[in-house]
């Protein structure tokens, strides 16, 4: 571990959180999937790291990097929380260019001393070491969307490939994306209402792309296109996606992301519905 040559290591004692990765891309990639606002709330527990980004109190994204992903993960408290600027963090993580070439990866050691201290990153690639000190802020309380699996009404799991296709063809002039989920026709439908007319994108429930189809009640909800747009970043990286709605029409999108080493991480988005649609 080249970073262990750092003299700072002598003072490891002083840190309440130390996390190391042999490949910094395993963190930076997943953070890119939620990088739509500057402020990111970091919550570390003995289970790993959760990073939360929110927009307009209507959209929340969470990236989970579980403890197994890290080569080292030492936490001295049950819960460590702080807030940093995500754009700055991503620039720091990619300081060596974020090369994808095999055999050339950036090693990372991330340390935090506690309230009021900066988040310190030691990055090393090819014998060159970069030290970043990112100032931390008071962590805000993430919004509780109160999305319970017991309240879930409809759920489908799709191969991301098929949803990517749909999203790339969506009419972005539409203000909303309408999602219909139903135990009968049209099963799972994405609709837009744009300048050039209405469009529907239907998935049959027997499609190869549909891994799981569990819809109990017909439900139609609209979500602001502007809010959903950032979710495409996660979609692009993912291999599977689970789409769920609860009784209030809240949308949960869970993305399964496979990293360079074949490990699985999850990114989840919650989105409020735009308005109630009258059921006929």
């Amino acid at each position: 571990m080249p970073l262990s040559t750092q003299s700072q290591d002598d003072n490891d004692e002083q840190y309440i959180l130390v996390a190391s990765l042999d490949n910094a891309r395993n963190l930076s990639n997943i953070l890119k999937a939620i990088a739509f606002k500057d402020h990111a709330i970091f919550t570390a527990t003995p289970n790993g790291l959760k990073v939360t980004v929110e927009d307009s109190k209507c959209l929340q994204a969470n990236a989970f990097i579980q403890v197994e992903i890290f080569q080292e993960f030492t936490i001295k408290e049950d819960l460590v929380g702080f807030q940093v600027n995500l754009t700055v963090l991503l620039d720091c993580l990619n300081i060596f260019g974020g090369s994808t070439a095999p055999g050339l990866s950036t090693a990372l050691r991330m340390c935090y001393r506690g309230y009021g201290y900066p988040l310190t990153l030691f990055l090393e690639e090819g014998g060159v070491v970069t030290v970043c000190k990112i100032n931390t802020q008071e962590p805000e309380e993430p919004i509780d969307f109160d999305f319970c699996s017991s309240n879930v009404i409809n759920k489908v799991i799709l191969q991301s490939e098929s949803l990517k296709e749909a999203f790339s063809e969506l009419d972005m002039t539409s203000e909303v994306l309408q999602i219909t989920m139903s135990p009968s026709q049209p099963y799972f439908r994405l609709s837009t209402f744009g300048n050039s007319g209405n469009a529907h994108y239907d998935y049959s429930k027997d499609s190869d792309m549909m891994e799981l189809f569990k819809c109990t009640t017909t439900q139609t909800n609209r979500y602001k296109m502007l809010l959903l747009k950032p979710t495409t970043k996660a979609l692009a990286l993912s291999c599977k996606v689970s789409v769920r709605t609860d009784s209030r029409g809240f949308l949960s999108l869970q993305y399964m992301v496979r990293n360079d080493d074949g490990q699985i991480c999850f990114v989840e988005y919650y989105c409020c519905p735009d308005e109630e649609v009258e059921e006929e």
Binding site: I95, F96, G126, V128, T130, V131, C132
Partner: protein, 279 residues
């Protein structure tokens, strides 16, 4: 005043084109100075271009198969032309597969450097493409501004790390800050640092080696002692962006809190770039 040169060798043509492209990345306008043995691309430090200056020297024999020139007079056997290297670069890029390229000074609607290329053809009719790059002839009385900058009395001289690595780091730092501190010592260590309200980042390079002529003119200087220069990060980025070929040698000299002097040596060309330090 006369100048004409001819390049036949395609490798020479590519190389010349690359040099001009590098220059074009560094500056919008510069002076092309022609002497019987050399071509120079010169930018003298003016406030308008952020105080940076550049000196690029090419030996004509390494590029041109034919080279004839006649300066303003026999005692001042030189020609100085102001031009846009971007225009010249574009002209050269479009004739990359030419059988031969002639470069000459012409008088058309205005003075021009005319690049005419004979392109390969399948029929017996030859195809010639001509580009006229407008230039401005610099009068004799302004030549004193175009002398080779004297190598400053630097405190530290050090070899640069691989330019690609340095470029990656500087590119990211540019996203975070407008200014960057370069510091180095005579122990082969160089640091790139930025500091803002949000973040401080330091990249440490070591074992870079120091050129034999040393530095630290006031002998017995502390090898660990750092000389530093705080520079406009865009200037450094421009310099790194332009380097298309791995040079034989790349180094930098620092005059503490005054100048960052970057030197890139190729077999047949050399480039010096001066970035003034800011407070």
């Amino acid at each position: 005043m006369k100048f004409r040169g001819k390049i036949i060798d395609i490798a020479c043509l590519n190389h010349f084109s690359r040099v001009v492209t590098t220059i074009a990345k560094l500056t919008k306008t510069c002076v092309l100075r022609l002497t019987p043995d050399n071509l120079f691309f010169v930018l003298s430090g003016k406030v308008a271009n952020g105080g940076v200056s550049m000196w690029c020297e090419l030996s004509q024999g390494n590029f041109f198969d034919e080279y004839q020139m006649e300066g303003v007079s026999s005692e001042d056997n030189e020609i100085c032309l102001e031009l846009s290297p971007e225009n010249l670069s574009r002209a050269l890029k479009t004739v990359q597969n030419a059988k031969s390229v002639k470069v000459k000074l012409t008088k058309k609607h205005c003075p021009c450097v005319t690049v005419s290329a004979e392109l390969p053809t399948l029929s017996s009719v030859s195809r010639v493409v001509t580009h006229d790059v407008p230039v401005e002839v610099i009068p004799r009385r302004l030549w004193h501004e175009l002398k080779e900058p004297s190598v400053p009395d630097f405190h530290v001289s050090i070899y640069l790390p691989p330019l690609k690595t340095m470029k990656n780091v500087v590119d990211r730092m540019k996203n975070l800050s407008n200014f960057l501190v370069v510091e180095a010592n005579l122990n082969g260590e160089m640091n790139l640092k930025i500091e803002t309200d949000l973040v401080s980042v330091t990249t440490h390079f070591k074992d870079l080696g120091n050129p034999p002529w040393g530095g630290g003119s006031e002998g017995g200087a502390d090898p660990e002692g750092m000389a530093e220069a705080r520079v406009d990060i865009r200037r450094l980025q421009q310099f790194l962006m332009g380097q298309q070929v791995t040079p034989t040698k790349a180094m930098c000299n620092i005059v503490h809190q005054r100048i960052l002097h970057l030197v890139v040596l190729h077999d047949d060309a050399s480039l010096q770039y001066f970035i003034p330090a800011v407070a």
